[in-house]
């Protein structure tokens, strides 16, 4: 079923998604939207792993398992990041990265 779609189609989709995530990371100012851009980047890496696993090593499952582990790491990262964001919000009452700069001085 998947044989009709070449491998590099998946890679192009994930590349575009990765760089859109980087664009969001560079332009956004709100901490939560930056976190969402990071999720986009992690997700595009997952697509790469899965496509390589399916097309180049169909008998093995390395890409599959490492995608599972990346999803777990992303969940842990999101939990800690949101805890930090809520803590920052309590301290400064906003989460704009350009206005939260007390530790820079």
């Amino acid at each position: 079923m998947t044989a009709v779609i070449p491998l590099h189609y998946f890679l192009i989709v994930s590349t575009l998604m990765f760089f859109i995530g980087i664009y969001g990371f560079l332009t956004r100012k709100n901490l939560i939207t930056i976190l969402m851009s990071v999720e986009l980047i992690l997700n595009s890496v997952n697509i790469n792993f899965v496509a390589f696993n399916r097309y180049l090593f169909p008998g093995e499952l390395q890409g599959h398992f490492f995608t599972l582990f990346i999803i777990a790491v992303a969940a842990a990262e999101a939990a800690v990041a949101i805890a930090i964001i809520i803590s920052v919000y309590r301290r400064f009452t906003n989460i704009d990265v350009e206005r939260v700069d007390t530790m820079k001085h």
Binding site: L56, A72, E77, A83
Partner: protein, 171 residues
């Protein structure tokens, strides 16, 4: 054009379109919902590649867990109808140039490499295979990363509770 090609183009168009909306939308709650669409279409791609367990994990953990967490924190920290100020045009242009340069370079490398993909029968790994792989410490076993991940999750849980806990002295 076969039906699987059409489905693939549909999913990838959804992914690209809603990714762009996620990073450019000026209302934060809408951006979170667009991110949800991106993650669900990614699960669709996993279904197309015949990794059903992975697609289910993607749907429950990413689309079900992380997006709900993000939406909760949005509701806690910002007003729903709040709109961001537009990004400065200079920043937008330079970020777009950096992004386009990187994307074009990577896509050219991908197109020129010529992968010899040897797809034969796309079989779905059974739950047995996945379970043995996760808890096996021999060849093709992933017991060590599995244990490391479990400790990481425990540490992340403690860390988020400690960080987000209200400090009694300051309040």
């Amino acid at each position: 054009m076969t039906i699987s090609e059409i489905i693939f183009y549909l999913f990838s168009a959804t992914i690209i379109f809603f990714s762009i909306l996620t990073v450019t939308s000026r209302r934060i709650l809408r951006a979170a919902v667009y991110l949800l669409f991106v993650l669900v279409s990614t699960a669709g791609l996993y279904f197309m590649l015949n990794y059903h367990f992975l697609a289910a994990v993607q749907l429950t953990l990413y689309a079900g867990g992380i997006v709900v967490l993000i939406i909760f924190s949005i509701l806690l920290t910002s007003h729903i109808s709040q709109k961001f100020e537009p990004v400065g045009i200079k920043k937008q242009i330079f970020s777009a140039i950096a992004m386009a340069a990187g994307a074009i370079l990577s896509i050219m490398v991908i197109l020129n490499y010529g992968f010899n993909s040897l797809i034969t029968v796309a079989d779905n790994p059974t739950m047995n295979t996945i379970g043995y792989g996760l808890l096996n410490y021999g060849k093709n076993g992933y017991a060590l990363p599995f244990e490391v991940i479990s400790i990481l999750l425990l540490a992340a849980m403690f860390a988020s509770i400690v960080i987000a806990k209200k400090d009694k002295k300051t309040n």
